[in-house]
Every structure is written in C-alpha cells, then in structure tokens.
C-alpha cells in the first residue's frame, strides 16, 4: 500500500535555540535513518508539523538543502501549535510530513542579481534560499539583503546576517521601527532601506517575505522603482489543514497555496484576483 | 448509523434535527425538513455545536472535594454525603436554609421534579432558575396585561406579517431561525422597524432603524403611543371590547410627545413618528423583543409598554400579530411552565392560592410551604447574610451568568455546603463541595418547550457517558434518600403527572408528542394545541393597559465611569460557553472576548482596533481586545458575557427590577483605559 499522505513521520528535536523575542529555532532530524538520508527539499518549501494532541500546522523550512540530514524551523509562538512547540525541549519528538509546495525557482535565477527584503520571522524561508545562493555564490550577481523588524529584539538569524554581510559582492542592511539605545542602523519600515542600495534592476530578482502589510508596501515600492511584476517573488502564508490540495483552506483563485505556492511572483498573485 | 430525531439544545427556537450515532457516539447532524420551525435549516450551533457531548472534559463520575481538590467518588458516597449535610442543615436551620437552582437547559420533566423536590421533599419554595435573569419581567409584565406570560403568537406567523417591530432583539444572531422568518417577511415586502443601541444585521436590512439610548425603551414606546393617539390611529373597537384601563394609558402617554420622546431616547423625532404610523396602520403588526427589553430595572415596565402598544392598535389575539418575547434558552419557557420559580407551581398556579396548594398537597401527599421563596439574587444575598446555608444547583453557572460575579463568589463561598450537578466542571462547579455528573440532551429522554410554547420531545441518542446519570434520575434518587420517595421509571411517567396537575399541559403525553409537538395551552387530550393566544378574549378576560412612566436606569454614566456598558451574546456561543467553547468551529470564530466600542469614542481614548483595553466598573475590571465599530451608539460599549477569562459580569451590577427581580444587565456605568 502507498503511504498514507496524511501520516506524519517521527522526528526528534536535536536542538532548540532562542532566535529572537518569542521566536525559537528548532533543529530536527527524522528518526528513520533512511528517511533522514533521502529527505530533500527546495528553499521556500514547507513541512506540516505535528504535535500529537495539539494538531498540525504548516511551517516553512529555514535551513538550506545544502546542509543534509537535518531541518531547521524558526517559529514565533503565535498560535495554538506554535505555542505548544515552544514548550518542547531537545530530545522530544514531533511529527513531520512534506516537503510541500513549489519552493523558490533556484535554477531560473542563476546568473541574476538577487534582492531579498525580509520582515521579522519572514526572513525564515528567505534564509533557506540565501544560504543556498551563497553555497553556489559564483552563479549569481550581487546579493542584497534588506531586513527589518519592529524592534532590535525581534531580529532573527543575527549570526547568519553577520556572515552574509562579510561575503563578497553582497550587502546587508538592517532597520527597525522602534530602536533601542544601542541601535545604530536605520530606523523605519524595511522599505525605507530600498533607496540606500544600488541595483541593476533589469537583471535583479526581488524576494519579499514578511507580514502581509509589509509585503504589500514593499511590492508597491519595488514597482515604483521599476521592477517588473514577474521580477517580484513572494511567499504566501495561509491557513492549511492538509498541504495537499484537499482541505481547501489555502485556495486563492484557481491556485492552492500548498500545491501551486507558497512562492508566487507578483504577476501570478494579481491574476489570482483576491486580496493578498 | 442510527438516526435519532430530537430538539436542539441551544436557543428557544426549538429546531429539530436528527443526530447520527455510530459506535455510541454522535457523529453527524441532519436537519428535519418537515419540522415547522427548522424546515430543513439550522444555525451554526445546530449544525456544528454538538462536539461538546464527547468532550474529554465531561464530568463522568461524582466528585467530592477534599481540601481544595476534587476526588472521584461513587454515587452512593456522594448521595450519603449530601443527605447527611442536607438533613443536618435542615434540622438545625430550618427548611428555608436550603435553596435549589433548576435549569433552563434541562427538560420539563427535570424542572418539574426539581421544584417538586424543593417543595415536597425539602419543604421550601426556594427554587428559581435563570429565567430570573432573562425573562422574569416578561412573565410578570405579560401576565399582568394579558393574563399569560408567554409569546402570544407562533414563529411561522412572523413571515406573514406586514409590519415587524423588533425592539431589543438581535434576532438573526440570537434566534437565527426566527431571524429567517423576518428575512422572509422582508422579501415578501413587510416593513421592519428595529430599535436597538447597536445596529444589528436586521437594523441594516430593515425599513426603519432607531438607535436608542440604552434603557429608554419606555420613553420610545410611550412616544409612539402618544402619536398614535394624537393622530387617532388607535383601534377604538378593540380597545372598547377587549381591554380596560385605556384612559389611564392615555393620560400617561399624553406627556410623551414625539419631541419629548426624541429627547429622552436620542432618536430623531421624525423616525418616532414614522415608526408609530407604520406600526399602527397595519392590522398585521408583530412586536418581537428579547433581553434588550427585559434586562432592565424597568424590565416589567418595558414589557407592559410593548403590550400596551399592541392592544392600542388591536395587534394581539389574531394571527400575524402579537407580543413576542424570544426566550433565550432551549427550555427556559418550559422551566417557567414547570414552576421552577419561587412563587408558582407548574402552570403558573400561585403557591399562595390555598385551593391550588391543596391540589398539589393532595397529589404529592405532603404539606407544602405557603409563602413564596427566594429568587436567585435573593438566595445569594441571603447566603451572605447567613440564612441560606446550602444550595443545590442543577445545570446553571451563576459564576459567569449572574451580575456582579465577585459578589456571587463571596455568596457561594459563604455557604456551608454547595452541590452542583453539571456536565462540566464549570466556574460554579469548581466551588462546589460535591459535583454530580448530569448528562447532555443527547443522553436522555424528555421534553423542551420552545419560545412559541411548543412542547417537543428530546430523545436519547446515546447512553450516558461514564457513570453520569440523567438529571431526572438523580433528583428522583436523591429525593428518595432524603425521605420523600420518588420512583419514576421514565420521563413519560413524569409528563403524565405534569399533565394531571397543570391545566395548560393537560392534554400532553408522549404518545401525542410526535414530530412537531404541541403548543400549549393544550388542556385536554383532544385539544390540538394553540398557535396563538388571546383569541376572542385575553387569558385574564379583558386586556389591561398598564401605563408606565419613563424611569432612568439604576446606574448612569458619570465623570468617573462615562460609558454605558450593555452586555449580550454572539451568535457562535451559547450562554457561559461551557458547551460552545469546546467546539472547534464555534471557538475558531470567537476564541476570546472583546469590547465593542464606537470608533470615534475609541479614537478619543487612543484605543486601536484589536488592542487590549481595560474596562472598569465600580464592581470590578477586565481586560479584553477592543473591537472598533460604527454600529454602536456613541457612549455605549458592548461585551459578550460568554467568556470566563474576561467575564462581563464582573462589571455588571445587581440592580433589580422591583417586581421581577431581574438584574439590569443592559445598563451599567464603566470607564475604559488602554490595556
């Protein structure tokens, strides 16, 4: 018999790291050795995470497929499942199934410059792609990373950010809405960083991920700057119960975010005809 | 799969559906297409609200408190403890040191037994239930004016009305299948008038909406009647033949010109005039009201003013007319009918009437107490004063539903002994010394009486969970152990006894209660039931005009507490949420409480949408999320009372209507702060 598409596989939490205020990063490994070896995914894809007795929720993968054997998930404690996950400690088990969704089109952007605009925990799926790009650095032009959060304490992946900033032909700029005493970088919405970088727009693809309101305004900014609708890529978050195109929750237009997304170009989103 | 036809356990509409049962569990719902109320439709609670039945949180064995914790106990042990305590307390402090709270959620048979238990076994009239908190003013107001305290007409007639005047009822949300009839009437061309401090869904769809000051209902109704009389639109023939006291009404309302009424209610004068003309000029005018009318210190006045208006225009005692209080709980009508109140026996027969009392004494074989007992709020006050020593509560949750919860808690804690019978460990049950596990509507037989006086069967679909027992059986066993033997084998037997003693239920038995049930009065076995009351003559003979002057609510806003708080419900939750908050679909819609506030008020206070706000009254404070709307009157805020963690009734005051003793849930003064 084929495997039950709804059945999760057992995974153990290897490590729990405090990522930012209210945000933790969990390192997970499949219990089954074979599955651990064979499990592969693209940046931008997500898994369905089970906590028995609490339920299941879609969570984007933040680790990069260049690092085999484990998965990282960065999660803000905002809902029922994520709050329960935050109570889990290393050594405890969860259920995983996936990966689901289309992921970022890594091959298609080879040869291009890449702009990332992330807000808060929205950097999680972008981080997966960013690390993959740096692993194949020579295939890409300039890499710009603009990252913002409400407060400095809510900025995630600071280790990565430090590392990315030091790599050649790349730039990382940070911004917060509400600074603290020690803050020395930009203050304002993340879009306010856009004028501060130099871009060869024709050959650049922009990846935008964050809260819906931030995505909305950044896209408007990018369009104004001259980005084509097909050059702007974002990833959508929707309520999902299955991740498999059955439960209907993530349906937007003719698409299911779980099957046809979560990664969409702005052009595609517009065609779906609904609010983003 | 077994399919069992039964009556919905939520509101007073009385819809019927089939429960699908497999492996002893309720797994599906099918509305009854043939049923006169549901007609194959249901609201979200009817479709989706039955998950609680199998909730892991159900209480399935008796619990006895030891120290601060409960431990599981056998029925015998629990019964033993209760009988010992009750006997001790009774011997030491007298019969009236015990009080019982019956339940509008339970069946007629259970309510009948509970009041019989109080009166015949315990020898006290201290029996009440939450009708005190919703429609006590209706029972008294309509009884005084018409001679019967119930909805005069039938749900199905609403669709045929030409004019529907809705005052103090958010009908589509709280009585969805009655809302369905209003929507159909609108489609048929009926004119609908809505008066409410909140612009409800029907207010948006109606022909005339009047946003009134909370608690100014008498001023509005008198203003309407003033115009009707001044324009000679009253039904003179009806007044002459069917009523008494018109002159006194005329004198009272003469003062309330539309202009004055406008000043008192905040409604533009021309709207009052228009409403009066629309209502009076139709011979098929229906009044619908709910707790917006009843839950005031002027509740009885409000109700009587509605009755006055209907009589003034001859819009009562006929099809497609009437004064129609919408009862909130599935069986609050039945619990009243069954005499689960301190002053009446089943069928609204006064306990102070010697002939009536003699009838019950003969039937029950005991001497009965002669004086009316205590109402809910009086019981609690008496507990604080040290007179009431023990309360036995069946299926009610006063720790969330009663006004001024902090006071309720003190009172319940002051008791020597508290027994709570429920399906969940509610906020109230947590305070109990003994908790007895009752069952849900799916686990027992019985009847509910809907808001349109329709007596309908509740049918057992599954076995009681765990060691729980049907509530009627628990009362039966407890009574027997306390020395007043009851030995009913079935609820049908109890109904036969009810029919013998209750003239309005005289012709009712289970063989007759097939699909659509019977509407009381149904005095004899060959009587078909009564779709509308007061045909030809009122239950009391002549209808009595009972004019009322406008009185201000008990607690008005002032500088310290500048807002009026009005409380109520949302369509997705039911009462104290013990059932609906355990259902994924209902909980998903409203997982937590909120305070609805006019956007302009919020702006002035610097409160943003979905931000936490603190609401403070003289009695308590709660924190909850702000919901900014343009559909509530400026200066008024609304909080639903379902949510224990932000209990609206920590804020409300136990200011009572002087006659009906109903608390003023719809008006108290609060202030708001950013949370």
């Amino acid at each position: 018999m084929n495997k039950n598409i709804y059945a999760p596989d057992l995974a153990v939490i290897n490590k729990v790291r405090d990522e930012a205020e209210g945000i933790k990063t969990f390192t997970l490994e499949f219990e089954d050795g074979k599955l651990k070896e064979s499990f592969d995914y693209c940046p931008g894809q997500f898994i369905e995470l089970t906590i028995v007795g609490v339920g299941e929720a879609p969570i984007s993968i933040t680790s990069s497929p260049v690092n085999k054997g484990y998965l990282e998930l960065s999660v803000a404690a905002v809902g029922k499942l994520t709050r329960a996950l935050h109570l889990k400690k290393a050594g405890e088990f969860v259920g995983l199934r996936g990966p689901y969704g289309n992921g970022f089109a890594f091959e298609k952007i080879k040869g291009k410059s890449v702009l990332f605009v992330g807000g808060g925990i929205g950097l999680a799926p972008l981080r997966s792609l960013i690390n993959q790009l740096f692993a194949y650095r020579d295939n890409f032009g300039k890499i710009d990373i603009l990252y913002g959060a409400r407060t400095p304490g809510l900025l995630c992946f600071m280790d990565d950010i430090e590392k990315w900033g030091k790599l050649k032909n790349s730039e990382v700029l940070l911004s917060v809405d509400v600074p603290d005493d020690k803050w020395q970088d930009n203050v304002g919405v993340v879009g306010s960083l856009l004028p501060k970088i130099e871009l060869a727009i024709e050959n650049t693809v922009a990846f935008v991920c964050g809260p819906p309101i931030m995505i909305h305004f950044v896209i408007l900014d990018l369009l104004k700057m001259g980005f084509g609708e097909e050059q702007i890529i974002t990833t959508m978050e929707r309520r999902m119960e299955c991740g498999l195109g059955k439960c209907g929750h993530c349906n937007i237009g003719k698409s299911y975010v779980c099957l046809d997304g979560p990664v969409f170009s702005y052009q595609q989103l517009k065609e779906l005809g609904e609010n983003i | 799969m077994k399919k069992v036809l039964t009556t919905c356990e939520f509101c007073g509409c009385g819809c019927n559906f089939y429960l699908g049962v497999e492996e002893g569990k309720v797994i599906s719902v099918y509305p009854s297409v043939s049923h006169p109320v549901s007609q194959g439709k249901l609201c979200i609670k009817g479709w989706q609200g039955h998950e609680y039945i199998h909730s892991p949180e159900r209480v399935k064995t008796p619990l006895i408190k030891e120290g601060r914790k409960f431990r599981e106990a056998s029925w015998n042990e629990a019964y033993q403890l209760i009988t010992n305590k009750f006997n001790q307390i009774r011997t030491r402090y007298g019969n009236d040191s015990i009080a019982v709270l019956s339940s509008a959620k339970c069946t007629n048979e259970e309510n009948y037994l509970m009041q019989k238990f109080a009166r015949a076994c315990l020898g006290t009239n201290n029996v009440d239930h939450c009708a005190r908190l919703c429609h006590a003013s209706t029972v008294i107001g309509l009884n005084t004016t018409f001679g019967s305290g119930a909805m005069t007409n039938s749900i199905d007639e609403i669709e045929g009305a030409d004019v529907i005047f809705i005052i103090g009822s958010n009908t589509t949300e709280q009585h969805p299948l009655i809302g369905d009839r209003v929507l159909r009437a609108i489609k048929n061309g009926a004119k609908v008038i809505v008066a409410d401090p909140r612009e409800s869904q029907l207010a948006k769809l109606c022909s005339l909406y009047m946003m009134l000051e909370p608690g100014s209902d008498v001023a509005l109704l008198n203003g309407i009647m003033n115009l009707i009389i001044s324009e000679r639109l009253e039904d003179k023939e009806f007044i002459a033949e069917r009523t008494e006291g018109f002159e006194s009404l005329k004198r009272t309302v003469a003062d309330y010109t539309p202009d004055k009424s406008s000043g008192l209610t905040g409604i533009p004068e021309e709207k009052i005039i228009k409403a009066a003309r629309i209502y009076a000029q139709s011979k098929k005018s229906v009044i619908i009201y709910a707790m917006g009318i009843t839950q005031h210190t002027t509740g009885v006045d409000n109700v009587m003013s509605c009755a006055n208006l209907a009589m003034l225009t001859g819009n009562v005692g006929k099809k497609f007319t009437g004064v129609n209080p919408l009862r909130g709980q599935n069986n609050v009508q039945g619990a009243c009918d069954m005499g689960a109140v301190p002053n009446i026996f089943p069928g609204y027969q006064a306990v102070t009437d010697e002939k009536i009392r003699a009838k019950f004494e003969k039937a029950w074989g005991v001497n009965l107490p002669t004086q009316p007992g205590l109402t809910i709020i009086e019981m609690l006050n008496s507990a604080l004063e040290g007179n009431v020593k023990t309360i036995y509560i069946m299926g009610e949750n006063p720790m969330l539903s009663d006004p001024d919860i902090n006071h309720v808690e003190e009172a319940l804690k002051a008791l020597d002994f508290l027994v709570v019978q429920d399906i969940f460990l509610t906020e109230t049950a947590s305070l109990a010394d003994v908790v007895l596990p009752g069952v849900s509507f799916a686990e027992k037989d019985g009847t509910f009486t809907s808001t349109e006086r329709r007596i309908q069967r509740v049918r057992k679909a599954i076995e009681p969970l765990g060691a729980s027992k049907p509530d009627w059986q628990v009362i039966d066993e407890l009574s027997s152990l306390l020395g007043y033997p009851m030995s009913y084998d079935t609820p049908a037997e109890i109904m036969d006894e009810i029919a013998r003693l209750t003239p309005i239920y005289g012709g009712v038995n289970y063989r007759r209660l097939v699909e659509e049930g019977l509407q009381w009065p149904c005095p004899t076995l060959d009587h078909p039931g009564t779709p509308y009351l007061h045909k030809g003559s009122f239950s009391r003979g002549l209808g009595k005009f009972c004019p009322a002057n406008y009185r201000l609510p008990a607690e008005l806003p002032d500088d310290a507490y500048p807002f009026v708080l009005t409380t109520g419900r949302v369509g997705f939750h039911y009462h104290t949420g013990t059932m609906t908050r355990k259902d994924w679909a209902l909980d998903r819609e409203y997982p937590s409480s909120y305070v609805e506030i006019n956007s302009q008020d919020a702006k002035e206070l610097g409160i943003r949408n979905r931000q936490v706000a603190k609401v403070i009254s003289r009695r308590g404070e709660i924190s909850l999320s702000a919901k900014l709307v343009d559909t509530i009157k400026k200066g008024v805020v609304f909080i639903p009372f379902h949510f224990a963690e932000a209990a609206a009734n920590k804020l409300t005051a136990a200011n009572l209507d002087p006659v009906a003793k109903i608390p003023e849930y719809k008006v108290c003064a609060v202030r708001l702060e950013r949370g």
Binding site: N2, N4, I5, Y6, A7, P8, D9, L10, T50, V52, G53, E56, V78, G79, F93, P211, R238, R239, E241, L244, G245, K246, C247, G248, H249, N251, G253, K254, E274, N275 | M1, K3, L5, I27, S28, Y30, P31, S32, V33, S34, G40, K41, C43, I44, W47, Q48, H54, P56, P176, L177, G179, D180, L183, K187, Q201, G571, W584, A585, R588, E589
Partner: protein
C-alpha cells in the same frame, strides 16, 4: 436495459445485503434520509432530494483519520473504511457530485480515506421524473436523467423500474439476481425518453451556464456579493449540504490516553476558515460568498479540466435561512 418490477426492489436490495451494506433513502418520521436499508422504511418513490446528499458515505461529516498510540512518541493507526457498500436511489445531481469530489480526492495526491470508500462502493442512480422548486441541474447538463457516473441507473416507469447498466460491477449485481429482472423492450426505453422530456419541463429554476462562464472572470467587483452577503447569518448550511464541497478541518481530540486525529466538514463561509494566528485573508462576508460561488464556477473548472463544481441540486438555496440564492447571484453575474 433491464426491467425490475417495483414490488421486487426490496427483494433486490435485501439480496445485495448479503454482500454489501445497502444504503437507500428511508422514511424517518416525516423526513427522508439516506440510511441502512430497511424494507419497511424504504422511500422508493421519493420526489426531489434529501437534505444532505449521500456524499457522506464517501466523505463523512466527521471522520477519524488515525489514532496516535501514546506509548511511543508517534505510532499511527489509520482508520480506513473498506466496507463494501451499495447506495440505491442516488439522484443524477449527486452522482455528478461524487464525480466532482473524486477529481479532487483522487488526483495529485490520493486521499486514502476517500479512495478506500470509493473503491468499495457501487452507485445505483435514480432518475428524477420531476424537479423540485430549487432544482436547476438541467441548466448544467447533469439531469434530470443521469448520463454517467453510475453502476446501475433506475428510471421509475410507474409499476416498474427501467434499469440501465453503467459498469461491469453493476451488471454483476443484476446477474446475481437475474430471476428478478426481465429484459427491457423498446417500448420501455421510449417511455423513459418521454418521461425525461416531461421531467425537463418541470424545472422552474435555471441558470445561463454559457453566459455565466463568459462573465464570471470579470464579476469580482459585482455589487451582488455585498448585497447578498449582508443577509448571511453564518450558518454554513450551504456548505454542509453541498454534494461537492470538499473542504475539511482537522483536529486532534484527546481522550483517555489516546489522541485521535479527526477531520470534519468545514465551511468557507465562516471567518475562521481563513483565520491564522494574526491574519485573516478574507475578512468580509462578501469575499467569502464570492469564494463559494467562484470555487464552483471558476476555480474548479480551471483546475479540473473544465469541470463545473456545482451540480445544480439547489440544496444551498433550500437550506439558506437568509434566502441567498445561487441562481439569482449567477443571473446577476451573467447579466451585468
């Protein structure tokens, strides 16, 4: 084509009971509901439709997916229903509904629960000699007489049923009860054809499918969404009765040291359907109403080979306490 005397229907269904769980429309009190066959309750000449379609024999209102055994962290026991089942008396609209559901559940990823039930079910249709007020399947080319999707198809000829064979499995059923059936003659088929013509004339509700298809892409901003949504009382009834609604919610239910993962029918008309921790993508009822109609008439055909996701059964019209009528809405879409 075969003929079955009406008086022998019970005997036929009774016989099937040896191998199958037989489901048929039954009289329950004054209502008609699908349930396990019982000769004394059989509603063999019912008119119109049951309030809920027999969809739930493939996709139940509430369904256990699996039990997590507590001893180890995750040990899963799946609950597949492989009961061999026959449903008799399915209306053409509901046969079509099952076809639409199957597209969803049996394409891309295969839903094992649906698949297990579908693989073990035989569908015996019953043509409609008369439409109800809300029926509009004829506008969609689905009824009143079924074209496909059945193992056997019954037509009520008065004293007999004309029985059309739709599959090998259906034929087997007849072979096993060969003594109950006779061969149809051309007169019978002619009578059925006349009944179909007559039945088509009983429709009082219709939509203009071609115009709807042509206009729906540009109807996103039609006022009809706001106007009609204002009446919605949020009962979800239109979803609960729909033979093609496939959306579900999944919950973990904890009971006595075991957790069950259970799925339930869900309703896109509820705000919670798209609610996430901090964001809801469809906040107005107008958007939700539009979603329901668009899913049936635009998204479903876009995704599944042009297949409209509506069967024209009209149940959503009958069940709506607010009088929201899909045919009125589609009329506005087609004509504005």
């Amino acid at each position: 084509m075969k003929i079955l005397d009406k008086t022998k229907l019970s005997q036929f269904l009774e016989g099937l009971g040896r191998e199958f769980q037989v489901i048929a429309p039954l009289h329950e009190g004054k209502d008609i509901l699908f349930g396990e066959f019982n000769a004394s309750k059989l509603a063999s000449d019912y008119i119109g439709k049951t309030r809920l379609s027999p969809k739930e024999y493939l996709f139940p209102q509430k369904e256990k997916l699996f039990t997590f055994e507590e001893n180890k962290a995750i040990e899963i026991k799946a609950h597949l229903d492989e009961t061999k089942r026959v449903i008799w008396g399915i209306r053409p609209c509901d046969l079509s509904g099952i076809k639409i559901l199957s597209e969803v559940y049996l394409s891309d990823y295969i839903d094992p629960y649906y698949q297990a039930r579908k693989a073990n079910i035989l569908l015996l249709g019953l043509n409609c000699n008369e439409a109800e007020q809300s029926c509009f399947c004829s506008s969609l080319g689905i009824g009143p007489f079924a074209q496909e999707g059945f193992d056997l198809l019954f037509t009520d000829l008065g004293d007999t049923f004309l029985v059309e064979i739709g599959s090998k499995a259906g034929e087997n059923l007849i072979e096993q009860a060969a003594n109950l059936f006779t061969n149809a003659v051309s007169k019978d088929e002619e009578q059925a054809r006349l009944l179909e013509e007559k039945s088509k004339k009983t429709f009082r509700t219709s939509i203009d499918l071609e115009k709807t298809k042509a206009k729906i892409a540009t109807a996103l901003d039609n006022h009809v969404w706001d106007e009609e949504a204002g009446k919605c009382i949020l009962c979800g009834g239109c979803n609960w009765v729909c033979p093609t609604c496939h959306c579900f919610n999944v919950e973990d239910i904890n009971a006595e040291h075991k957790t069950q993962r259970v799925r339930y029918w869900d309703s896109c008309q509820l705000g919670g359907f798209t609610q996430m921790a901090a964001y809801n993508s469809r906040v107005t009822q107008a958007e939700r109403l539009r979603q329901r109609i668009y899913h049936k008439f635009s998204y479903n055909p876009d995704r599944y080979k042009g297949q409209i996701g509506c069967t024209g059964c009209g149940r959503c019209i009958d069940v709506c306490p607010a009088g929201i009528d899909i045919t009125y809405i589609l009329g506005r879409v087609a004509n504005e």
